[in-house]
Amino acid sequence: MTSGGWREAIVAALKQNDIKLVCHVADTVLAPIIRMLEADSDVHVVTLTREEEGVGLLTGAYMGGIRGALMLQASGFGNILNSLGSLAIPYQIPFPIIMSARGGFLEHNVVQVAWGKSAPAAAELLGMQAFAMTHPEDVPFIATQAMRHAYVSRRPTLLTIETQLSGGKTGG
């Protein structure tokens, strides 16, 4: 697999799961994936103003018959907690949350550590599952199945792009 192959694998997993709406507050790790999706006429990309809006937006879209995904940086996961707990989880609204997990390997900015490291635990406390993507060769399987898991379990599911995979903010 090429160095950028894991990003294509995430896009392929979105398409395999019939996801046609992607909303995001971007970071540099997610940016190439968002560019691929913006170039895809089958996917509608929404640039959010703040991450929590994405939970409401995807709830409305899902009930209206369109599957969506939310992309954000770890800090952004901190911004969506109440709407996960009081909207998406109790109403059983499924969507994958694809999170760029700053704060690990090669992190140069100490403020990224708290959410980069605690988002999966916070998700699990809320009753969601979190799946980590660490090795490029595992991404096609993990991404596709973790997204499928959202629909099977009828709730949001967290997929983390670990810094070993992305190289962190400064990596390619």
Partner: protein, 198 residues
């Protein structure tokens, strides 16, 4: 302070005006608290109503998602000003996405009425209609009574949106909340839309 507020229209009369004006294909979304209590009391039997139980602020974002997914149907969101202030960033997103079928009705009694009447910025300094216009919504009306409100809503349902209608309302006490099941709300609403849930 109290007397001009008492002369203002009541949420219940305005909510009834919405229910009377929209057709059976129109989606109604109500935010937490009074917006949902009132809609349920007035038109609880209406299949295309979606009631929010928590997630303060998210009703207008839910409305955006529905408007994008169901472009052939009008979507009308009823939400309190406190919730819109809390999720004000969503107005910018709605302006950018510009769904023509979305109308936001904002009830403004200038306070968090339900939590004891704490004064909000719309009482003193914040003009939500100006914010909506500044975010690029197609129109932002400020009707003063039920009749003007009905005119504003007719316009919003006919002309391409997104529209905002900000109404200064009386601080009428809340109806009692009803016990409810979020999954039942979702499933009934999706069944009315003809969408199969996972």
């Amino acid at each position: 302070m109290a007397s001009p507020q008492l002369a203002r229209p009541e949420r219940a009369d305005l909510t009834r005006a919405i229910v009377d004006l929209v057709d059976d294909e129109t989606i109604l979304v109500s935010g937490i608290g009074n917006a949902s209590f009132d809609l349920r009391a007035i038109a609880g039997e209406r299949p295309l109503n979606f009631y929010m139980l928590g997630s303060m602020g998210q009703a207008i974002s839910i409305g955006l998602g529905l408007a994008l997914a169901q472009p052939e149907r009008p979507v009308v969101v009823m939400e309190g000003e406190g919730s819109v202030l809390l999720n004000m960033s969503a107005l910018a997103t709605i302006g950018m996405q510009a769904p023509p079928n979305l109308t936001l009705v904002i009830w403004d009694n200038e306070q968090w009425q339900i939590t004891g009447g704490q004064t909000l910025s719309t009482a003193t300094s914040c003009n939500l209609a100006a914010v909506a216009r500044g975010c690029g919504l197609a129109s932002a009306a400020t009707p003063g009574d039920v009749e003007e409100f009905a005119q504003s809503l007719r316009f919003a349902l006919d002309a391409p949106g997104p529209h905002a209608i900000v109404v200064k309302i009386a601080p009428t006490p809340s109806l009692p909340p009803q016990r409810d099941d979020p999954v039942a709300i979702k499933l009934n609403f999706m069944a009315a839309l003809g969408v199969e849930p996972d």
